[in-house]
C-alpha cells in the first residue's frame, strides 16, 4: 500500500509542480483538484447521475466489448499457433498476412469494419468486438507459438523415451511449458483489446462506451477541460483493471 501512496503523491507533485514551474494555464492542464471535483458534478443539467458514475457505466460497456474481443481473438490466436506448430508450411505461407494485418493502422480499418458490418445488419457491438479481437489475436499467436516451441530438446527426448503419444507430449509438456509465454502475450492482448474497443466506438455513432465519453468531452473541452482528463483517466483505468485480471489468472494457473 505504501508504494501506491508514494506514487500518487509523486504524481501530484509532478503535475501541480510543473503547472507552477512552467506556468501552464488551467485551460491546458487543469488542477488535479478540479478533475476530482468534476467527478461529483451531476450530468444532464443537474438531473442525471454523477459524472463519475456515468463514466464508470460507460467504462463497463467498453470493458465488456474488450473482454469479448479478447476472448475471441485469444481463441483465434491460440488456434493459429497450434496450426502453425503442427504445419510449419502453413506458418511460412500465412505469417506474412498475419503480420500485414497488424501493420495496417487500426484507425483506418475500424470505420470500414463498423460501416460494412452495419450495412450487413449486424448489431453495433459485433463490429466493436471484431476490432478488439483483431488487435488481440496477433500477440497471442506469436506468444503461444513461441511458448509451444519452448520445451527443451532434452525434455522432448524424455517424452520420446517414455513412448509418449503426441497428444500426451502436448498436454504434459508443450502446453504447460508454453503458459508463461501465453500469459505474457495475454497481458499485451488485454490492453490491445481495450484500445480496439475504444477505437471502434469512435466512428460508430454509438451511444455507449468510454470512447463516446472521450468524444463528448473533447467537444466541450473549451468550456470544461477537466472532463476530458477524467475520461482519459477512466480509459486508462479500464486497461489497468483488465491487465490486473489477467495477471491474477496467471498467478492462479501457473505454478512453480
Amino acid at each position: 500500500m505504501l508504494p501506491v501512496i508514494g506514487l500518487v503523491a509523486a504524481l501530484l507533485l509532478i503535475w501541480e509542480g510543473s503547472k507552477l514551474l512552467f506556468g501552464i494555464s488551467d485551460q491546458r492542464l487543469p488542477h488535479l483538484g478540479d478533475i476530482v471535483a468534476t467527478m461529483f458534478t451531476r450530468t444532464q443539467g443537474g438531473n442525471g447521475p454523477l459524472l463519475l458514475v456515468q463514466m464508470l457505466i460507460n467504462a463497463w460497456a467498453t470493458l465488456r466489448v474488450a473482454m469479448g474481443g479478447f476472448f475471441i481473438g485469444g481463441l483465434l490466436g491460440f488456434g493459429l499457433a497450434l496450426l502453425f506448430m503442427r504445419m510449419p508450411i502453413l506458418e511460412r505461407g500465412l505469417m506474412p498476412y498475419v503480420i500485414g494485418s497488424q501493420t495496417v493502422p487500426i484507425l483506418a480499418i475500424a470505420p470500414m469494419v463498423v460501416v460494412s458490418l452495419g450495412r450487413m445488419g449486424a448489431e453495433p457491438w459485433v463490429a466493436k468486438i471484431f476490432v478488439a479481437a483483431y488487435l488481440t489475436f496477433f500477440p497471442v499467436t506469436i506468444g503461444m507459438l513461441r511458448g509451444l516451441r519452448s520445451a527443451s530438446p532434452q525434455s522432448l527426448d524424455l517424452m520420446r523415451s517414455y513412448a509418449a503419444s503426441s497428444l500426451q507430449t502436448f498436454w504434459k509438456l508443450r502446453l504447460p511449458a508454453s503458459l508463461p509465454y501465453l500469459f505474457a502475450s495475454l497481458k499485451i492482448a488485454a490492453s490491445a483489446s481495450v484500445i480496439g474497443a475504444i477505437v471502434a466506438e469512435l466512428p460508430s455513432g454509438s451511444s455507449e462506451g468510454i470512447g463516446v465519453m472521450i468524444l463528448n468531452a473533447a467537444q466541450f473541452y473549451n468550456s470544461r477541460p477537466p472532463a476530458l482528463y477524467l475520461a482519459i483517466l477512466v480509459a486508462g483505468l479500464i486497461g489497468v483493471v483488465f491487465y490486473g485480471l489477467v495477471a491474477l489468472a496467471e498467478r492462479l494457473i501457473v505454478k512453480r
Binding site: S152, Q154, S155, D157, L158, M159, R160, S161, Y162, A163, A164, Q168, K172, L173, P176, A177, L179, V254, K255, R256
Partner: protein, 261 residues
C-alpha cells in the same frame, strides 16, 4: 558372453550438419551383457553421447545395426526399456518433485495409487523422502539430479542410459552420488544394464564393470578395460592399489588415442 542385451554391429553415424557431414562414430562393434555396468569415456566430441542416443533410439545409425534384446531400438523404446538421465536434471518446473517422478508412470497409464506409492518409495531411496511436495527450483543441483535418477528408475527400465549425470556437480556430492547409484543398481531386482558416459577416469573405474575407451573423431572403440574390483564397492575401493593401477591403465589408454590421432 551369452545373448547380449545391447549389440552394435559395425555401426557408423554421420550427421548431416550445416558445415558438411560429420562422422561421429565409425565402425563400432560392441556387445554388452544384461546387468553390466558400462562406462563410456573419451575426449570431447568423440561420439559418446551419440553412441548412447543410438541405443536409446534418439538417433538412427547411418550404417550397421543396433539390436536391443534382439529387437530394434525403436521396438525397445516402445516396450519402455530405457530410463534416461542427462547431465542437467531436465525436471518439469511446473510439477512438484513427486509429480516429476510420477511422470513416466502417468504416461504409461499406471493407476494413481500405484504411481504415488512408487514415487514416494523411489524418493526415499534417493534420499528425497521429505521433498516430494517441493518444486524443482527449491532443490540444490545435486538433489535435482537425484530426483531425475528417481524418475528414470520409476518404471524399472531394463537399460539405464546416463549421459554425464554427475558432470555438473561438485566433487563431494559427486562421490556420494556414485556410491548411492552403485548401491541402488546393485540391489535392484532385476539389475538394470547401465551405460554411463563420463569425462572422469576415476569415476569410470569406480563404477564400471568395463570401461569403453573411445578415440577422437571419428569415434571408434579404442579399447575395453575390464575392471576386476570386488563388489559391492565402497568408499575404501578408491584407496585400493588395484584401483590406482586401473585408473593409470585407462589414462594411458586415453593418451595413446590422442597421439595415435
Amino acid at each position: 558372453m551369452d545373448t547380449p542385451i545391447i549389440e552394435f554391429e559395425r555401426v557408423s553415424k554421420i550427421y548431416q550438419g550445416g558445415a558438411g557431414p560429420v562422422t561421429a562414430l565409425h565402425d563400432v562393434t560392441l556387445r554388452i551383457a544384461a546387468g553390466e555396468f558400462i562406462a563410456l569415456i573419451g575426449p570431447s566430441g568423440c561420439g559418446k553421447s551419440t553412441l548412447m542416443r543410438l541405443i536409446g533410439d534418439l538417433e538412427q545409425p547411418s550404417n550397421g545395426t543396433v539390436r536391443i534384446k534382439a529387437k530394434t531400438p525403436d521396438q525397445a523404446r516402445r516396450d519402455r526399456d530405457y530410463g534416461i538421465v542427462f547431465q542437467s536434471p531436465v525436471l518439469y518446473d511446473w510439477r512438484t518433485i513427486r509429480k516429476n517422478v510420477e511422470l513416466p508412470l502417468e504416461i504409461m497409464g499406471r493407476p494413481k495409487e500405484q504411481r504415488h506409492q512408487r514415487a514416494m518409495e523411489l524418493l526415499k531411496l534417493v534420499g528425497l523422502g521429505d521433498f516430494g511436495d517441493a518444486y524443482p527450483h527449491q532443490l540444490s543441483g545435486g538433489m535435482q539430479q537425484r530426483a531425475s535418477i528417481a524418475r528414470a528408475l520409476s518404471f524399472a527400465p531394463s537399460i539405464l542410459l546416463m549421459d554425464e549425470p554427475f558432470g555438473a556437480l561438485d566433487e563431494i556430492t559427486r562421490e556420494r552420488l556414485q556410491l548411492e547409484l552403485l548401491s541402488i543398481w546393485w540391489e535392484a531386482e532385476p539389475r538394470p544394464t547401465v551405460i554411463f558416459v563420463t569425462h572422469s577416469i576415476p569415476e569410470a573405474v569406480f563404477l564400471a564393470d568395463r570401461v569403453v575407451v573411445m578415440s577422437p573423431r571419428p569415434g571408434r572403440v579404442q579399447r575395453v578395460v575390464e575392471v576386476n574390483l570386488a563388489r559391492p564397492r565402497a568408499f575404501e575401493t578408491r584407496e585400493d592399489p588395484q584401483f590406482f593401477a586401473l585408473v593409470t591403465e585407462v589414462r594411458e589408454c586415453l593418451r595413446a588415442t590422442e597421439t595415435a590421432g
